[in-house]
Amino acid sequence: MLLPFFQWCETLWLGQFVVGSLWLFPVIESVHLLALALLGGAIFIVDFRLLGLGLKDRDVSELARDARPWMIGALLAMILSGIPLFLSEPVKCYYSTAFWIKMTTLPIALAFAFTVRWRVALAEPVRGTARRQQLVGALSMALWFTVAAAGRWIGFS
């Protein structure tokens, strides 16, 4: 049912422009990877802290506030570089299991980051929150690792 949409995507100018160039795909891919490193840093300092690791002498809320603009910037760079990568091979993506795993976990990870995780990170450390914070940190890491690994795996299919 979605296949015609993916086939239509393949006709778009941007994707064809990437396909027509020898260098463009690798260059955009590099930007995607550089942004991934920044995203990893901005997300994991908070997740580690939620797990009681890393910068554990600071408040979670302080780290979350400081990391937020970098996380959002990295996410924007990821999405802006991800779109032309996708448009250069939409039909291949359609038939890739890894692509669908990524497209399922990515919205979940995004929604989680801006709702539950953000609220838990800002909450004062009252009694009983420790376990919940650990759970949120572990879940966030697991989600983003899945998104990244599935993303890498698109290239193997």
Binding site: S30, L33, L34, L36, A42, D66, A67
Partner: protein
Amino acid sequence: MSLLAYCEWLAATQGSIALHESMYMYPIVESTHVLALMLFVGFATILDLRLLGLILKRVPVSQVLERLLPWTIGGFVVMVITGVLLFYAIPVRTYQSIFFRAKVIFLILAGLNVWLFHTRIFTRIADWDHAIITPKAARRAGLASLILWGAIIVTGRMIAYNWFDCDIQPQPAFVNWAAGCVVPPPTP
């Protein structure tokens, strides 16, 4: 034995062939390399941004270093192990890749930068531990680290592309020299 001969010997070993031909092991090692990158370069970036006074401004530099360094080193160890395995799977082509060679040079420079930071700059951290704007030398080290790790990521990713492979000839003389290609002299 030359390095090339060593890589040729390595490529003929059972383990190298098994890894190279495996359906899942190679992608798993490659993915682990990328996940470790998120952690390791991610934390290194946070350290660099703190040195540049752009993030965690109220956190003393020494605290950021002390708390993140063990994880950064841990991530780096995973990167090295998976990286060595990736080389082991495809030794000759990787050894003769100009991107791999550039990456090694950038890695050495990044290591040098870390060493300079810890021996020259970090020793006087007490003077500026709480400063948002760190001394020029510390900022320079942070910026150099950002640029070098970025270059390492990009050249690392480019190893996968075969534009400058030795078995694709003719190549510019510079490429053949930099990649160490053994090219037979042109037949007249």
